[in-house]
Structure formats: C-alpha cells, structure tokens
C-alpha cells in the first residue's frame, strides 16, 4: 500500500555539544509518527545539506546553542541550494538560543520558524503537520 511518511532531518551545526534539545524534538516527532534522521553533533553545513540530499527529507530542523547561527544557518541554505534543494520545497526550522533580533533575517533566509527555549514539543509537531497538510503534492 502506498504510504506517505514525513521524513525529518534533525541536525546540530557548529561546535556546541549540547544535544538534549535536539534529541527531545527528535523523539517527540518520532512519537508523532514521523521518520526522524538524527545525525548527531558537530555537523558542518555541507554535511547537513548532504544528509538532506541523500535522505530526501521533507523537513530540516537545526538546533544551535553556540551563537553561531547567523554564520552557519545561511551556509546551510547555500549548501542546500548547491544540491538543487530549494528552501521552498523543504520546511526549514530552527531552535536553540537565538536572539529576537535575528529571527527576521533568518526568516528572510528561508527558515519558516524559530523555536526558543520553553517551546512545547506539541507546538513543533503541530507546525510540521500543518506545513505537511498545506504543502502542494509533488507532481512526482
């Protein structure tokens, strides 16, 4: 029987090693019935984009606590584009310690949501599901 699964990549770019938040989100999305590819810590933007390419994910969630998001996140988008993956066809979101002032520029760069500390996993699940529901079906 044909089956459509939401495939999600959860990755941590940069050098901070605190992946508890990323793991909580990965687990919550799994419990919501999604297939979550977890790549672990210390990923370069190229590694993240490459994993997204090979796994053909629908959703990419990045977690960062180091403060290097303004440097690393746009590089992830660039690395995705280099692999023919446009931010319009995947859902990009991020979480971690990200100042309010950075949110708008990141949205301009292609991130559809930034989840700060204290966000409920329910909100993230709902956000992903809502996106999947209104996403136009791919022709192929």
């Amino acid at each position: 029987m044909p089956e459509e699964k939401i495939r999600v990549l959860i990755a941590k770019p940069g050098l901070d090693g605190h992946d508890r938040g990323a793991k909580v989100v990965a687990r919550a999305l799994r419990d919501a019935g999604m297939e979550v590819i977890y790549t672990g810590i210390r990923q370069t933007p190229e590694m993240i984009a490459e994993a997204a390419l090979q796994e053909d994910v629908d959703v990419i969630g990045l977690s960062i606590l180091s403060g290097a998001h303004m440097e690393l996140f746009p590089r992830v988008v660039r690395a995705l584009r280099e692999r023919e993956i446009s931010p319009d066809e995947v859902l990009l979101f991020a979480g971690g310690i990200i100042p309010d002032a950075d949110i708008e520029p990141l949205k301009q760069a292609g991130f559809q949501a930034i989840f700060g500390p204290g966000t409920s996993t329910e909100d993230i699940i709902k956000f992903v599901r809502d996106w999947a529901a209104r996403r136009p079906a791919r022709a192929v």
């Binding site: 029987m1 044909p2 089956e3 459509e4 699964k5 495939r7 990965a26 687990r27 999305l29 799994r30 419990d31 919501a32 019935g33 999604m34 297939e35 979550v36 590819i37 977890y38 790549t39 672990g40 990923q43 370069t44 190229e46 590694m47 490459e50 994993a51 390419l53 090979q54 796994e55 053909d56 692999r83 023919e84 993956i85 791919r138 022709a139 192929v140």
Partner: protein, 310 residues
C-alpha cells in the same frame, strides 16, 4: 516537476538528487515508484550486494562505517542502506545510523540511505530490495545493506544479498546458541566483532568447531574485528571479495540469483494478494471474522478459509 522517466534518465546520468527522489517513490511503493523500478531493474544486477546482520548492539553500524571506508580505500564506490525499526505504537522511527558514519557524508562516492522497517519482516523494510535495485542501477560497485538488530530467525537478508555477513559479539550466549538453526546458517562470513573484549578468542574457537562440523562444501570463514578500533576490517574485506570470487566462479551464483528472484516475486505477490483481500472486505466482513476469532467462536484457520473463499 520532472516525470518519472526524466528522473530515471537523470539517475542513470549520475544525478544524486534524482536518485534520492526515486528512492522515496520506491520506498513509498507509489505507482511512480513501481514504474521507476520497471525501468531500473534491467540496468541493475552489477553491484555486489553485501548483507550485514546481527543482534542489536553488536556493532553493525560502526562496522558498516569501517567497511565503507575500507571499500573506498580500495577504490570502489558504495551504496549503504541502513535500516532501523519503526515504532509499533506511533509508526514513527528514529534513524540514527548516520551518526556512526558522519565522515562518509563528505564523500560523494558514498550514498547512504536510512530506512525504517515500516512493518517489514526479517530485519528489512518492504521496499529494501527496490532501494538496492536503484543504487545498483545508479552504478554503485557495491551495496551494503545493514539490517535492524536481528535475533535468531531474521534470515530475509540472505535472500537479497550476494554475500551475507553475520556479526556476533563475545559474551552474548553460549555455543549452543550458535548451533541453533536460523541466522547462523545464512552466514557466508562470520564476524566476531568487539574482539578486544574478553572471550573473543573463545567465541571464535566455538564458531570454528561449529563451522568444521557443517556439511557445506565451503568452509565459512571467521573474522575477528574491532569496528570501533578499525581492526580486522581489511581481513573482512578480503573475505568478502573472496566470497564474491567464489560465487561468480561457480554455479552457486546462478542458483542463488534464481532463488532470490523467486523470493522477491513471491514476497510481492503475497503482499498484493493480502492487499486485495483486505480491499474486498471493507464492508465489515473482515472485522466480523476477526471479532469471532477474538471471542473464540471461530478458529483462525476457518476464518482464513472464509476470507479466501476456500
């Protein structure tokens, strides 16, 4: 949006994005995925398929990474299909095999695809064979299939792989476990992984005496490895290459390929028949039968007879 035919053309021209899109269609078993497989199957059959199986925690992912690196050092390209379990409760999955193979991500000649079991049996997903076909048609020299943690009876991988590697670890059971039927019997190569642990030599000796007692004309080699320390990997690769040479030089391969084709056809046909039966009984008759069996008013055999019209 490209058509399936265009995607297949791009895959055959070496485009990895097209390969990846097609893997999704194949994995989801969509009509487009089936059409793609019709076009790709005639282009496949060249890659050497290696099945890697063993219990959970035996070090399969780490070993896969080590095998992949050694394969690349020998100049061969590689596809990896890494399978992790689907939750029986949420139908979701955490696919974590990339963690142990991070460094391989930057090698464009390695293509790693994670799959969830999605109800598949024997440590594989229902569409694993199709995914292997696509990676084969893409031109990978070898395709490594790493099963979910498998116990004693998960032998499906042997029907798909040219070479089946069974991974064991010291201290995971006595030699009687190893004598039992099932997973031990499908091994073309036995690996004692985590060989830096105590009792690795003991396990290797126990396996050796079992292998000696086997009536098979080919002695199953036993290789000691420590995947995390990158030890014994070249010896394992040598054995994999020797097994490949063995099957290509003998009638074994023809026989094996016929058995594999038969297995694939019957597996898919079985699923089609079940899907059709379920579709024919959407009016509640299936539920009614199930209910009577659950109440012990009807036995399961009679219910199946009624379902299939026998």
């Amino acid at each position: 949006m490209p058509t399936v035919e265009e995607l297949v053309d791009r895959l055959l021209a070496g485009n990895r994005r097209a390969l990846s899109r097609l893997l999704t269609l194949i994995e989801n078993d969509t009509p487009e995925g089936r059409r793609a497989l019709r076009l790709l199957y005639p282009k496949s059959g060249r890659a050497h398929t290696i099945g890697l199986t063993g219990s959970a925690g035996s070090g399969k992912s780490t070993l896969s990474g080590a095998i992949a690196r050694a394969t690349r050092r020998r100049g061969h390209t590689l596809g990896i299909v890494a399978i992790d379990p689907t939750s029986p409760f949420s139908q979701g999955a955490i696919l974590g095999d990339r963690i142990r193979m991070q460094d391989l991500t930057s090698d464009p000649q390695v293509f790693l695809r994670s799959m969830a079991t999605r109800g598949g049996m024997g440590g594989l997903a229902p569409s694993t064979a199709g995914v292997v076909t696509a990676l084969d048609a893409f031109g990978k020299d070898a395709v490594l299939v790493e099963t979910v943690g498998a116990g004693q009876d998960e032998v499906e991988v042997a029907a798909m792989a040219d070479t089946t590697v069974v991974v064991l670890t010291p201290g995971a059971g006595d030699d009687v476990q190893a004598m039992k039927a099932g997973i031990m019997e499908i091994a073309d190569i036995l690996v004692v992984n985590k060989s830096d642990l105590p009792n690795a030599d003991l396990l290797a000796r126990q396996l050796s005496s079992i292998v000696d007692a086997s009536p098979s004309p080919r002695r199953t080699p036993i290789v000691k490895t420590a995947g995390a320390l990158d030890e014994g990997i070249d010896a394992l690769l040598d054995e994999i290459e020797q097994h490949r040479a063995y099957i290509t030089s003998s009638s074994v391969q023809e026989e094996h390929r016929r058995a594999r084709a038969r297995h694939q056809v019957l597996t898919l046909a079985r699923q089609r028949l079940i899907d059709r039966l379920v579709a024919q009984h959407t009016d509640g008759r299936l539920d009614a039968l199930v209910e009577r069996v659950a109440r012990h008013e009807l036995d399961p055999h009679s219910a199946a007879d009624e379902l299939t019209g026998e």
